[in-house]
Structure formats: C-alpha cells, structure tokens
Amino acid sequence: MKRDDGATMRSDDTGLLAREPGERTYLTEGTTLRSWLLSTDHKRIAILYAVSITMFFFIGGAAATVIRLELFTPKGDLVTADTYNRLFTLHGVIMVWFFLVPSIPATLGNFLLPLMIGAKDVAFPRLNLMSWYLYVIAGCFTLAALLLGGVDTGWTFYTPFSTLYSNSYVLLAAFGIFVVGFSSIATGINFIATVHLLRTKGMTWMRLPLFCWSMYATSLVMVLATPVLAMAMVLICAERLLGLPIFDPRAGGDPLLFQHLFWFYSHPAVYIMILPAMGVVSEIIACEARRRVFGYQFMVYAMLVIAVIGFLVWGHHMFVSGQSPFASMIFSFLSFVIAVPSAIKVFNWTGTLYRGTIRFSAPMLYALGFVGLFTLGGLTGLFLASIPVDVHLSDTYFVVAHFHYIMVGGSVSAFFGGLHFWWPKITGRLYSETFARSAALWLFFGFNFTFFPQFILGYLGMPRRYHEYPPEFQVWNVMSSTGAVVLAVGYLMPLFYLGYSLFYGERAPDNPHQATGLEWTTTSPPPKHNFLVFPVVRTEAYAYHDWDEAPGKADETMQDERA
C-alpha cells in the first residue's frame, strides 16, 4: 500500500518518509525500488508481503462479489454453471493460499517476531526474501490459470474429477499451489529457528509474548503439513501430465487416498489460519484491558495442543465420503477433543477482560469481534464434528457459514485488529480512531449479516457450490448478498483512512498504546536493525500491573484479586 508512494514523497513534516533531522528508520534506508525488492530486512519483506496479499485479497473478493450477485436471484441468470464453478474455485484458491495462510504470519509475523524477541532479524534473512519471491512466482502461475480461463474443481482438487475429467487449467493452479507451499515452508523454518536461537538475553520461553508462541505453533504446522500437500499436488500433476494412474479407480487406485493426503494438510491449514489470529488477539486484549493475560501458561499449552491434535482430525471432512465408520468415530472424537484447548483460550480471553480497564479502541473492537465470531464458528464446528448431524449438513451452506465464521470472522478480523494495533509501529503514523472504530463495527455487522443467513440456508438444506436454487431460499440469499455489500464497505474503509494516515497522519509516539513488549521499546518506525541498544528482558510478558495489584489504578478494595 505504501511502498510506491513512499518512494516519491520527501518532506520534513508530512509524508511517509518525514522524519526528525538525523532520524533513520527502516523506511529511509534506501528508497529505490531495488532497495525494496532485494532487501533482506524482515520489516521490508513484511511490507512486500502486505502489498501482495492485499492485491490477492481484492482479486479473491471480486470473485466473491460475482458469486453473491449471482445468488441474489434463484435463477442462474448472471453466469453459467461452469463459470460459477470457476468463480468459487478461484475465490477459494486465492483466499486460502494467497491470502489467509500468509496473511498474519508473513506480514505481522515477519515484522514483529524479531522485534518481540529482541532480535536483529530472522534467522535466515535471504531465505525470507526467497519465500516472498516464491509467493510471487506461485501467484503468477495461479493468475495465469485464472486469466486463461480458470479452474473448475473447487479449491479441494478432488480426484478423479481433477485428474480425469476437468477441462480447465488444473495443472497451472496445482503447480502454483505446490510453489506457494514452499514459500510457507520457508517462512515456517525461519520462524522456528528464529524463536529457538535468536531470543535476546532474559527472554525465556515462558516470557515470550503469546503472539510469538502463536507464530511458533503456526510454523510447526506449516513445516509439517505443507510437504504432504506438495506431494498431493505432484501426484495430481503426474496423473494429468504423464497419465500415471495414481488415483484412477480403473487401475486399482482409490480417490479417497487423495482426500487423506489433501486433508492431512488442509485441516491443519485451518490452524495455520487461526493460530496467528489467536496470538494477535491475546496481545490486543491484554493491552486494551490493561490486564495480564489470564492463565498465560494455559494459553501457551492450548496453542501447542491445537497444533498437534490439529493433525489428527482431518477425517471429519470425509464422513460422507465412504470412509470407514470406525475411522469416522475416531476422527469425530478427536475433533471434539480439539475443541477443549480452543475453549480454554476463549475462556482465558474472557478472564483477561474480567475486571479490566477496557478501552474500546479500534483494535479492541476487532479483537472482541474475533472472540465472538470465533466462538460461534467453533461451536458450529462441533455440530459438524458429530457424525449424525454432519451427514445432514455436509456440503450445505451450514459448512460454508461455519468456516467463514472461523476464517473471515476470526482470522480476518484479527488481521485487521493487528494491523491497526501495530500500524503506528509499522508506519510511524496514527490513523483516525473514529473511522477505524466505525470500520470495525461495519465489518462486524456486515459479516454477520452476510454469513448468519447461510447457517439457516444450510439448515434448510441448500447445498453449496450451486449457481441456482429453489425460490424459497431467496429471502436468505438476498439477506446474505446485501450483507456482503456492508462487509465490502467494512473492508474498503481501512484502505482509505489507513492510506490517508500514511501521508497526513500524526506522527506516532514510540508506544502509543502504553503496551508492554519489546517492539514498543524501540522507535516508531524501528531503525534498520530494530534496536539501537539490544534489550534485556527482566519481567514476564504483559506486566500491565503488579501481581498483587488490580489493573488500572491500584485500588485497595480490589487487592484480593490475583491475576
């Protein structure tokens, strides 16, 4: 968003590169395009990623817009069934692999992880830059598939349709996904090595901010799940390109094996998308409630348990596929088990709010929205994890609503929250709090307006992935499409007021939220090597008040409360 403009603006009091005499930040270290494209500075790579994922977000959003327009009326009058297939495939592929997976880790994570642990950079800065280039190359392949005419398999690429029957650009898209997988593996390896080896003096494991823990858990999932997806995509390419009958039932192949491989990645990928959001929200809630995070250690263990058990539940996507009922029962049970750590987290966020001095700032509104929407998304996930209910709801709009509550209501809200929370640190500018708060509210109402009716549609039995439907479903679809307009406004607003703040926003102080955490001890924006003097950590994270003191102003009557 800001890179292109930043390079041309030079002024002493306004504009992105405005600075006090002698002040040097990572933004002023070279202003040529080359200095950005070849930079190994984790902060600049974060910006490169932010610009690219924003672009892909709007491409994916455009496809969603056409989908919602088509569903405004029961008849398939806007696009053909085939085009509709290509639209929702495009929407899914772009949003999952080119927006949600890299969204928080590659932007906020890249920017903040080294800052939060007091490091100069990530462990392998050149690998970090390479990961962005892989992302761009993969994006080109996927965009090429789209421009040539699209893919009609759905984002899941189920065989045998994708290998034997589909007459669309499956190869290009599968190759793009294969490559973007390596981009997230590179990010994951970098983050894990960074957290292990580059923590500053005194930054013990149990003093790590929860955002760092969330990045660590996410990276584990990225590193251990993505290669299996890569193999699945290679197998699809081999079957399409070379004709090797890997999954072809006529040659003894079993299409369900593809589904096993695919979901071995793609279910954990859900946690790649939601764990970072949990980290962001923990930071915001603690700061804006002026409270230590309730049950810090449980928050850490909950994230690690989610990361591990997340690998053992994939079969709940296959209840109606012909999978053995015994396996379904095990997968169902484990899916219920993974709800426990998620519930612990929701409970602890609420516990953190309790008796806090809450500021309803824009990041906090996004974070609170996250907690509510994530809870709803998570609970409807339990419906789908129980086999008898899932047999009824599978492949209906109930599923669509469920995962949009987790991914859009959850992840995207948290991403926006984090973007606002750290915006002053990243850009050195303050945005308009009034606009930001109203955007948060628009987003929340628009989101529910769009997706709550889809729960009802699914319950009534409307299947997903159809471009026309019986007229009795129209009222809910109209509601959903209208809500999408409100949601779109909520998405577009930040583009304007955040963009405005880059040039005309007030200069941000180093710690505008009075937050704890090492990233707030350096300047806004940070210098090239993050800290002028390398910090030493002497306290736990979130020292917003003494252990024997209530948050905010210490009050004698509240001292019985220990955080």
């Binding site: 251990l224 071995f264 053992l312 999978q323 053995s324 009922p325 015994f326 396996a327 095990i330």
Partner: protein
C-alpha cells in the same frame, strides 16, 4: 562442530570408508537374500536392513549422535508426524 582431537587421515578418510564398507555389505546381504528362491519374510528383512543402513548414514555421516538435543528432536519429528498419517489413514483403510 569442533571435534576434540585434531582431524587426521583416520577420521577424514578411513572412518567414512569403513561406514561405506558396512553399507555395501548390508546391501549385499539384502540383495543376496532377495535372490534366494522362496526365502521367507523377504520384504521385512530388506526393510530391516534399510533401517540399519539409514541409522549408519544418520549416525556416522550426518552426525546425529553428536548433534544437539534440538537437532535430534527435529530429525525425529518428521518421522513422528508421518506416523500420524499412516496411523489415522490405515485406521480408515483397515476397517473399511
């Protein structure tokens, strides 16, 4: 990492050669057994030999024995996670 004694021809050339000879010998056993007509449990034996060969490469060539706990855990973690795939997917296939 820094070895304690000075490296000499023994550690540099002789030890890898010995390991190579062991790998070669194990491979020969595997091949010989596979060529015996009607011998029982051929796949099991050959896989067991691969396990020994892999441990030799991991231990002697990749120095896993001298590596830090962190690195050894990392070497293990891929195999553990792979076992998740086999365990859960075979739970489906075996009871279908």
């Amino acid at each position: 990492m820094a070895e304690d004694r000075p490296p000499d021809a023994r550690t540099i050339v002789l030890k890898p050669l010995l390991v190579w000879a062991a790998l070669f010998g194990l491979g020969a056993i595997s091949l010989g057994y596979a060529l015996v007509p009607g011998a029982p449990l051929k796949p099991l034996l050959s896989l067991a030999i691969v396990l020994v060969q892999a441990s030799l490469v991991l231990g002697a060539f990749m120095k896993l024995g001298k590596a830090s706990a962190l690195v050894r855990m990392t070497a293990l973690i891929g195999v553990v996670w792979l076992s998740f795939l086999f365990l859960m997917a075979f739970a489906d296939l075996a009871t279908r």
